[in-house]
Every structure is written in structure tokens, then in C-alpha cells.
């Protein structure tokens, strides 16, 4: 059978095939982004400028950075070590694995309420410590005066709730690593830390990169837990978007904050890609 291919249509057809996707992207991704940028640049002075010069910016950036910079590295470290741990075959491994991933199935608001109830002045933790006679007055984690401790509560909640997603990615990556490399390392007499440093981590880079990008993206979106645990006075960039959109009915300022988040995430994302170059296997 002879296939008569018209060179013109060959040139045309690949583009024609991706056209639906392009239209889809232009309409559902491109247009909203451009629209948001336009909103962010509207107003006098433009909303984006108002955001950058606002007295709240410093405080907002401080909390955003504090939360993200403590949550993400901790999650990554925990995920890597638990992944290695779960490589061991032990009895009841599956059950423990499920339990570890379980928080992923709980909504972030429910998780935050859970931790709020646990850590509040009449919560489980304080009751326990009081019962045991370790403390004589409840420890406060919430409220304006205890903002620093609230930060700790937010970090704890986030680690409990969202480490599983990092773990799933890292664990999958770890299972892809050829066992022969590790066996070879054993032959050379590498100890655990040497194996981790010279074999596992370099080979895990693609997974670490994916996990970091996804987790950073999500970390900038946390709103519910921060409102529940911190009230109005622990402000991060995402809660500012919600504040301006729903409490002030100001779409310009909300868009400006959103654009700023998008910009920062874009920079961090490209940094991750640049800095964590996967090794050629």
C-alpha cells in the first residue's frame, strides 16, 4: 500500500493537532492570567504598586517566608527518611504506610480545626499536661499575644497534613532507583550516610525537584488553616488575596497579591529547575 502524503499537509498537520490544546490553554489559562494582570495594574496608583508600598507587605512577607521556609525543608527531610524507612519490609508495613498517608485525605480546614482543638487552652494537649502535673497553667498557642507560638502550630499542622504528598513522590522515586547501585555501594563498604549522600540523593534529584515544585506551589495557597489557627493577625500572601477579595470586595488588590504570588512561585520554580539538575543515569 502506498501512502500518498502531501508535503503541505504534513507541515500543517502537527500544528493542527495541538491546536485544540492551544485554544484551550489560551482561553482557560492565558486569558484569566492576562485579565488578572490587567486588574492588578488598574487603579490609581495601580493596585500592584499599592501592594508593594503597603505597610502590611513586610509583615505578610515575613509570615509567608517563615511558614514556607520552615515547612518545606522539614517536609522534604521527613519524606526522604520515611521513604528509606518504608523500603524495609516489616510486618504491618502496609498499615503504617496507609496511616502515614491518611492526613492527605483530610481537608485542610478539618485538619486545622483538629489541631486547633488539640492545642487550644482547653484542648487535649493542655489537659494532658495539666493532668500529669507537668504544667500548672495552660500553655497558649493561639491569640495575638502568642503569634510566635501560633506559627509553630501552623508549621506542625502543615507538616502533619501535607508531608504525605511529598512522601508519595519521593517514595515513588526511591523505588525507581536500581537496587544494584545500593548493592554496589555495600560492596564498597559505604555506611548509611555515605549511601545517602553519594547514591540516593543524586539519583533522587528528579523526584525532589517535582516534590519541591508541587509543595511550594501548594504552600503559597494555604488559607484555611492560617485563618483558623492565626485569626486575622497572622497574614500571609494567600490570606491577603482572600481578605481583599471577600472582605474588601476589591478585585484589583486581590489580583495584585495573586500576581505577586504567581511571580514569586515562578521564580522559585525556575530556581528549583536550575539548581537541582538531575544527573545523567
Amino acid at each position: 500500500m502506498v501512502l500518498n502524503v502531501n508535503p503541505k499537509s504534513r507541515l500543517f498537520s502537527p500544528h493542527f493537532l495541538v491546536l485544540p490544546t492551544l485554544i484551550y490553554l489560551a482561553f482557560f489559562t492565558g486569558y484569566p492570567i492576562l485579565y488578572a494582570i490587567n486588574l492588578a495594574l488598574t487603579g490609581s496608583p495601580p493596585a500592584l504598586l499599592q501592594v508593594i508600598t503597603s505597610p502590611r507587605l513586610r509583615e505578610v512577607l515575613f509570615y509567608t517566608i517563615m511558614i514556607i521556609a520552615s515547612v518545606i525543608p522539614l517536609q522534604l527531610i521527613i519524606a526522604i527518611f520515611t521513604s528509606i524507612f518504608f523500603l524495609n519490609r516489616f510486618k504491618g508495613r502496609e498499615v503504617v504506610l496507609y496511616l502515614f498517608i491518611l492526613p492527605l485525605a483530610i481537608s485542610e480546614v478539618a485538619a486545622a480545626l483538629l489541631w486547633y482543638t488539640m492545642l487550644s487552652s482547653r484542648g487535649f494537649l493542655n489537659k494532658l499536661l495539666l493532668e500529669l502535673g507537668i504544667i500548672s497553667k495552660p500553655i497558649y498557642f493561639f491569640g495575638y499575644e502568642f503569634r510566635d507560638r501560633t506559627l509553630l502550630a501552623i508549621v506542625l499542622t502543615e507538616i502533619w497534613r501535607a508531608t504525605a504528598i511529598v512522601f508519595v513522590i519521593i517514595y515513588a522515586g526511591l523505588q525507581m532507583i536500581n537496587k544494584e547501585y545500593l548493592e554496589a555501594a555495600d560492596v564498597f563498604g559505604f555506611n548509611f550516610w555515605q549511601k545517602l549522600r553519594y547514591v540516593i540523593l543524586p539519583l533522587l534529584k528528579p523526584s525532589i525537584q517535582t516534590a519541591l515544585i508541587i509543595r511550594t506551589l501548594f504552600a503559597f495557597q494555604i488559607v484555611g488553616p492560617i485563618f483558623i489557627l492565626g485569626g486575622e493577625y497572622v497574614r500571609v500572601m494567600a490570606t491577603e488575596v482572600v481578605y481583599w477579595y471577600s472582605m474588601r470586595m476589591n478585585t484589583y488588590m486581590a489580583s495584585a497579591w495573586a500576581i505577586l504570588i504567581g511571580f514569586i512561585v515562578l521564580i522559585l520554580g525556575s530556581l528549583y529547575i536550575k539548581l537541582i539538575k538531575p544527573v545523567e543515569a
Partner: protein, 383 residues
């Protein structure tokens, strides 16, 4: 709500789908539908302040053409808001639906720690002696005797603390909600609030409604909206007493909250929509709403035979507040799209003065022009 609507289906064969939406979502939906001329909502229920925003945008039908609703007398306070909308937007934008206010709920335990010169009777009846300063003294006494800060305010992200500021404290101290925002009387107000805050539960800044903290026993004295405390009183009616708010030097300022029903411009099934409005404002239905959601009737005939002891307690407390001779009832000002900015000014003042301890006069002087600008822009008198 769904139960009520089922009985409407049974009676008139009108099927209503109830879609609970937040104010923000409702506003976005209405804007989209009205602009696209593809309205799918027949009736909107919301607070008068929310309907005010919709009316200011021209998204609502004039309800005057549907005529009157026989067999019910709307309370004057509610009709005053309808008239205000008529003056502002030239239409009958809504029919009053239900009303509420903010009161103080006291855990009966707290009465054991009343300060000298204040009796339970003073508090329950709202006498001359039941002042904001007396509340501070009471809170202080509780703190000194029990070591705990037992007053609660809804100062969290979704809380209504700003209503306490403009509708209660400012009215009680200056006679107005905004007019004397920066004045010696206002300085006195903020000095009192700073003092009171010392005895407020530190977790207050994470609470949006006071029912839970009251039930848990975190706080003994709490100020909040009736709908946001009623769950506590319904669950443990024997534990709590609902009392009028304290008074200030000028009187006892309090807010009357009003909810209404409106029909979006170009809505489908408008005649049936009007029948739904008729149904929801019937006296017997009004009584059932009160028992379920903590908003009270706007129709005089509904003066309900309330069965639930908790709802009865709240309703009695509200009545005593309404009956105080020095009462200065106010409405939340109708500011359309600027309502959020209005609220933000009071909340910022609270944050800077009470939480961060900035100088009162400096903060007030800095915020005052922003507040005045809102009224100047809308060309409405300062409330």
C-alpha cells in the same frame, strides 16, 4: 429552611431550591448573571447591608409593583430601612425578613464574682449601673479571683468585632457611629477597651463566633450576634443568661440587624418569587425561623409562642435590651461597595490601638480622613 420550603411545596405546589451562598459568592453570581442577562435566581435573601450593595449596583427589581402583603404588620424599625433604600435607590429593594441584634451572654458562674456596687439585677435589666466601665471592673474581679481572663470578643478573621466598635462603643461614648471618630470621647472609649482587653481571653483573636468558647467554658462573658451565640444557649439554657449590653456616658448603643428578601433584575418566575416572599413573612413561619436560626420575627403578629427554652431566653434578653430607656438603637450604615472599607478602618484602629499599643490620638487622627472620605464620596451624612 428546607423543611419550611417543603411545606410550601405541599401547600402551593411551588418547588424552591435553596442554595446557601456566602455574600461574596452571591455578589459574584448576581453580577455575572445580571450583566449577562441570564438570571437564574428568583429570590435573594440576605442582610439589609448586603442587599444595599446589590441595590446600589442596580441588580434588583422594584418590589412596589407586587402590591402589599396582607395579614401582617412589619415592625417600624424594619420599615425605616426599606424607606432608606427607597430614598437612596428609588425602589422598594427588599421585603423585611428577619431581625437580630448583638447581646451579651453571661455564664451564671460569673455572677458570683460581681464587683462591688453592681448587682445581678443591674446586669439582667440593663440599669444605669451596667456600664462598660462596670464590665471592666467585673472582668478584672474575675481575673483577680480566678486567675483567668474570662471575657470573650469575636475578634477572629470572620468575627464581628467591628460592629462592637462602631455600633456599640462609639454610639455609647460619642452618640454617633462615625461622626466623632476622633474626639476626646473616642479617646475615652479606646482607653476603656484597652483596659477591657487585658481581661479578654487571649484566644479571642481566633474566634469568629462565641457559642463554642461559651460552651467550652473558655469565657464567662461574651458579646456577639444573637445568631452566633444561640447554639450555646439552646444547648445549655440553664447555664447562661442573656443580658442587655452595657451603657456608656451617652447611652446604650446597640445595632439592629435586618435581613430581607429581594428579587434580582430580570429574574425568572417573578410572580412565584413574590409568593415565596409572602410565605416567608407569614407570622407562623417567622416564629419557626426564629426557633431555627436565631434571627427574630419582623412581623408583629409573629410575637411567637416560642417553645425552645434557649431561644426563649435569647428572645427575652433581646426584649430587655430593646426596652432599656437609655437605648440608642442604630442600623449598620448603607455604604454599598464601600462597606468593606468602612469596616476595615475600625478593625485597623483596634489592631493598632489595642493590640499593638499605638498612641490613640495619632491612630484616630490618621484614620479619620479615610473614614470621612467614604461618606463624602457617597454623599451621605455621617452616621
Amino acid at each position: 429552611m428546607r423543611g419550611l420550603l417543603a411545606s410550601l411545596l405541599h401547600e402551593k405546589n411551588i418547588q424552591v431550591e435553596f442554595v446557601p451562598l456566602s455574600y461574596t459568592d452571591m455578589a459574584a453570581k448576581l453580577e455575572a448573571e445580571v450583566t449577562a442577562r441570564a438570571v437564574t435566581v428568583s429570590v435573594v435573601g440576605g442582610l439589609a447591608t448586603e442587599i444595599d450593595y446589590f441595590a446600589s449596583k442596580g441588580w434588583l427589581e422594584d418590589l412596589a409593583r407586587f402590591g402589599t402583603l396582607p395579614g401582617r404588620t412589619f415592625v417600624d424599625t424594619a420599615l425605616r430601612v426599606v424607606d432608606e433604600h427607597k430614598r437612596l435607590y428609588g425602589i422598594t429593594s427588599f421585603i423585611p425578613w428577619m431581625t437580630a441584634t448583638f447581646v451579651i451572654v453571661v455564664n451564671n458562674e460569673a455572677f458570683k464574682y460581681l464587683p462591688e456596687g453592681l448587682t445581678r439585677e443591674d446586669v439582667v435589666m440593663g440599669t444605669e449601673k451596667w456600664t462598660w466601665d462596670a464590665l471592666v471592673a467585673w472582668a478584672k474581679n474575675i481575673y483577680e479571683k480566678t486567675g483567668e481572663r474570662r471575657v470573650g470578643l469575636p475578634a477572629g478573621a470572620g468575627g464581628l468585632l467591628h460592629r462592637l466598635l462602631h455600633g456599640y462603643l462609639y454610639v455609647s461614648y460619642t452618640g454617633y457611629q462615625s461622626k466623632y471618630f476622633n474626639s476626646p470621647e473616642a479617646v475615652q472609649l479606646w482607653t476603656m477597651l484597652r483596659e477591657l482587653w487585658k481581661y479578654c481571653h487571649p484566644e479571642s483573636t481566633t474566634w469568629s463566633a462565641m457559642a463554642e468558647p461559651l460552651l467550652r467554658g473558655d469565657v464567662w462573658i461574651a458579646w456577639d450576634h444573637t445568631a452566633r451565640i444561640i447554639a450555646a444557649v439552646k444547648e445549655r439554657p440553664e447555664m447562661f443568661t442573656v443580658v442587655p449590653v452595657p451603657r456608656g456616658p451617652v447611652g446604650r448603643g446597640y445595632i439592629i440587624v435586618l435581613a430581607g428578601l429581594a428579587i434580582p433584575k430580570g429574574a425568572p418566575n417573578q410572580d412565584v418569587a413574590w409568593e415565596l416572599i409572602e410565605f416567608l413573612t407569614r407570622p407562623e413561619i417567622q416564629a419557626r425561623i426564629a426557633e431555627n436560626v436565631g434571627f427574630f420575627p419582623v412581623v408583629k403578629e409573629a410575637t411567637p409562642v416560642i417553645v425552645d427554652p434557649g431561644v426563649k431566653k435569647v428572645s427575652e434578653g433581646v426584649s430587655r435590651q430593646l426596652a432599656t430607656l437609655d437605648g440608642k438603637p442604630v442600623f449598620i450604615p448603607m455604604l454599598g461597595g464601600r462597606a468593606g472599607d468602612f469596616i476595615a478602618i475600625y478593625r485597623e484602629a483596634f489592631e493598632r490601638i489595642v493590640l499593638k499599643g499605638e498612641d490613640i490620638s495619632t491612630v484616630l487622627a490618621e484614620l479619620e480622613p479615610k473614614l470621612k472620605a467614604i461618606f463624602a464620596e457617597l454623599n451621605v451624612p455621617e452616621p
